[in-house]
Amino acid sequence: MRVADPVWDDLVSAALVGTGRRPAAELPAQDALGTLAARVDRADEAVRLLDLAAIVMVHRRAGRRAPAGAPPAPCAEVDTRPSVPGRARARLRILLEGDGMDFLPEWLALARAAGLRAPESELPALLTAARSRTDLREIVADLAGPRGRWLAGLNPEWAWLTRIAVPEPDDPVELWRHGRFGERLAAFEALRTDDPDAARGLLTRVWSAEPAEDRAVWVAALGTGLSASDEPFLEEALDDRAKVVRVAAARLLTELPGSAFAARMRERALACLRPGGAGRMLVVPPSGCDAAMRRDGIAETSPTGREDHSWWLGEIVAATPLAVWREVFGAGPEEIVARVLPRRFAEDVRDGWARAAVLQRDVGWARALAGRGAPTRLLTVLPAAECAEHVARHIAAHGLSEALQLLTNCPAPWPATLGDAVLDALASAAEGGGYPWSFSGARDVAGRGLDPAVVDRVEHLAAGDGEWPKAFRALADTLHYRATMRAELLDN
């Protein structure tokens, strides 16, 4: 804080201009400082200014007092979860500084599973890390708790945290009216769980005053407790002036099989795909993208530069309720997927089904489509055990390097079936005389994904000399490291 000090300010002015042009003024003589200043030699104005500056500087320093202000408002909410043990806290600091291997997501997941709160001293680094790593936001927000929300309110850099729903609000209606965005979102979700129609009523009242980006989030939030009675609202949102809102509404309408939207998509889909003879499939892509299609969320041109007709076809398949196809083909997903598609459109149709399976979380379709070349996110629809088994089979059939992308998408730690499959593949590669460095990618993924409990088998593989045992030793070290990380968090 700057306090007015005419004596010092005059010295600064004189020094700025130069004593050659403007000497320093006389100091007022009435106090001790003035008496001392009067004794300063005047032979050289520059020397006199520096002498005075030295005296006044010490005087100022000695006289500076703490200014008074209002005491700050403390964080009102108390986090009752225990903090992480000391050793885990030190580990987190190392992980946040980046130690080469990215074990931060696992640490966070373990801490959450153990019901702990994030150490306050590491909150700034955590909130900053999650600012650029959106995949960590939800879990960081959870671990940071009320203290994290309080802190984020002080720093605009961490505004992302104030936009994430808080857990279990006490008085949702009050919070909905007066809370910050994240609090309102949580309140809305709670209200939707209780009484979806009443919650939508509250939203309708404020709808036009909400910014576009927020309207899109509110539309997505209608996913909680979604029912046919939300359809008129969503239909109306398809005419919103903001594209993000229209897209969000179209996306949600695909989840309402009885809706007018679904009927329109069904109409379009029926025109595109039909059974052909001898297990084939006839494909007729749309001839154009009319206003009605655009209103239903289909973009006129592909953002990635895909040919127009193929793009429209894929968009329609992705937005059509999957149940339509049973009706068209009179068969389940397995048989439909087995039909031969014309080469030109095969990718668009399969990709559309896959997107629909993910959006509509349809396990049957996901199972039918999962396989070589299918998008890895299909696996997220399958139950964890089935997903692991699927990847294990994939490794056995196509080899480890083919399955890397799938493996990165399997939540760690892997179940025994998958862990065994990966270790079997590595062991046979070692026996078969493969080059260890051509498997370094797989080893990194295995280091992150394997259950640390399998370390004994890895140790066994690491016996002896040579490049492979050395590689297995490195893998075992990684597993030991993760085991230590676990033990630290559970404090045993």
């Binding site: 804080m1 700057r2 600064v12 004189a14 020094a15 700025l16 201009v17 130069g18 004593t19 050659g20 042009r21 050289d44 104005e45 520059a46 020397v47 200014l49 520096l50 002498d51 500056a53 030295a54 006044v56 500087m57 010490v58 320093r61 000695a62 500076r64 007092r65 703490a66 202000g69 005491p71 700050p72 403390p74 964080c75 903090s83 000391g86 050793r87 806290r89 030190a90 580990r91 600091r93 190392i94 500084e97 130690d99 306050e120 001293s121 590491e122 909150l123 700034p124 680094a125 203290r147 309080w150 802190l151 002080l154 720093n155 030793r473 075992a476 030991h480 230590t484 033990a487 630290e488």
Partner: protein, 460 residues
């Protein structure tokens, strides 16, 4: 059951990982060390407690080379020895070994018997410590030493005269326009000061050179303040013969004379002014100037209540050898330099390994400013004074960060020496409710160094 007198043996307390990592010379070493904190590479590892509370940890680490490294740590220093070629102290093996010891009682069992190679080194250290404690040695050739000292005095006097003329020229011509000068002007005069064996003046000039270049509002005032500070030192140096010798000691330190810690200890032993106390390690901070790393370690005597500042240096990019764990306390001798307000000290004989220290008592922001003013009265060129603040929070305000007490009185933060992360960390730990914070308060504001949160010391 019969009651028998028995020797009380205190189990050697394992450190926490945080305390070990506080010893790391840099972030990279800490990371490398934590990767070595797994049982595999280690064999023949163990720890033991010796007479007088001293303790040691040792182990053999298989590295990439054919010969494994032998690592031994004397917890009393703490000091370490490793057969690896690293020039860092402690090296990653020593850190890894300590981390493993902290985490894993199976991998590093307590009450083990030290192997011969570890014993030899530990014995050597003990012998040297005893010898240093019992005897002091006089300089080898007093006449030559005297001549070198005179030579330097003359060189510094000449450099001081040159700097006086330079500063006078600056304010005669006016500071306006210096913001367009670039660093070359200050580097030039700073280089002259290095040649004149006055590195302290050189460092101040380089710091001053950064002010106008920053273009921040109010730079002329801050530049004049830096010039005034240099001027004060030069004037005092000019009249050193008329000043109290204790004032001259501090002045010489600021200009760039260094005093050998061994000399300080020897003098204090001869004069009987050694202070034996249990010293709480309040904080530790490294700064680098060119090739030299300076570590400042602040202590507070638990019995005497005295503050002490121990300096350690690491030349050529090496970390200083002396490292003390923040938040713990050590029973040790301290010898204070002969300063007007005693603060700088050299550590002498230590008894036992560091043990967990408590949370220090502190004062409010108002008393912190009074404490600095009081110290300034004895030594007018003091830039800052260590202080433990009680019950304070860090508050981001539009005009800058505040360190505020529960009563609302607050201190500004010296942002040139305080990172954003440290302040947010402080804010996060407090949640708006007061914490105990150690730091330095002075001419440019408060610099937080350590905070106590839920009973433990956290380096900021």
């Amino acid at each position: 059951m019969s009651v028998r007198a028995r020797t009380v043996t205190v189990m050697l307390e394992r450190w926490t990982a945080e305390q070990v990592l506080a010893l790391a010379p840099d972030v990279a070493s800490g990371k490398a060390g934590s990767r070595l904190a797994v049982p595999r590479p280690w064999s023949a590892a163990g720890a033991a407690e010796f007479a007088g509370g001293a303790g040691a940890v040792w182990g053999v680490c298989a590295g990439s080379g054919a010969t494994p490294y032998r690592t031994v740590v004397d917890l009393t220093g703490p000091a370490s020895q490793c057969s690896c070629p690293s020039r860092k102290f402690p090296c990653k093996h020593a850190l890894g070994l300590l981390l493993l010891w902290a985490a894993d009682p199976v991998a590093v069992p307590a009450d083990a018997t030290a192997p011969d190679w570890a014993d030899t080194w530990l014995d050597g250290r003990r012998a040297r410590a005893e010898k240093a404690a019992s005897a002091g040695s006089a300089p080898a050739d007093p006449v030559a030493a005297r001549r070198r000292a005179d030579q330097r005095t003359a060189q510094v006097a000449e450099g001081a005269e040159r700097l006086r003329r330079w500063l006078a020229d600056r304010v005669r011509q006016g500071l306006a326009g210096t913001e367009r000068e670039g660093y070359a002007m200050w580097d030039g005069i700073a280089e002259r000061m290095v040649d004149a064996k006055a590195p302290g003046l050189a460092a101040r000039l380089r710091a001053a050179g950064a002010i106008p270049a920053s273009g921040a509002e109010g730079w002329p005032g801050r530049l004049l303040e830096d010039y005034a500070e240099l001027w004060l030192l030069l004037r005092a140096h000019e009249h050193a013969d008329d000043l109290d010798p204790s004032l001259v000691a501090g002045l010489r330190a600021r200009i760039g004379w260094t005093v050998d810690a061994e000399d300080v200890l020897r003098n204090a032993r001869e004069a009987g002014t050694v202070v034996r106390d249990r010293w709480l390690v309040l904080g530790s901070r490294d700064s680098t100037d060119g090739n030299l790393t300076e570590r400042r370690i602040w202590l507070r005597g638990e019995r005497s209540g005295r503050p002490a500042l121990v300096l350690a240096f690491g030349p050529q990019g090496r970390a200083p050898q002396l490292a003390l764990p923040v938040g713990r306390s050590i029973e040790a001798d301290a010898a204070f330099h002969d300063d007007a307000v005693p603060l700088r000290a050299a550590l002498g004989e230590r008894a036992g390994a560091p043990v967990e220290g408590g949370e220090p008592t502190g004062v409010g922001p108002e008393e912190a400013t009074l404490g600095y003013a009081e110290a300034l009265r004895s030594e007018p060129w003091l830039e800052a004074w260590p202080v433990v603040l009680a019950d304070v929070v860090a508050v981001p305000e539009p005009m800058g960060w505040r360190i505020a007490g529960a009563d609302g009185f607050w201190l500004p933060v010296d942002r040139a020496r305080t990172g954003e992360q440290a302040l947010w960390r402080l804010s996060a730990m407090s949640g708006g409710v007061g914490l105990t914070v150690f730091g330095e308060y002075g001419a440019r504001g408060f610099v937080p160094v350590t905070a106590w949160h839920e009973g433990r010391a956290v380096q900021l």
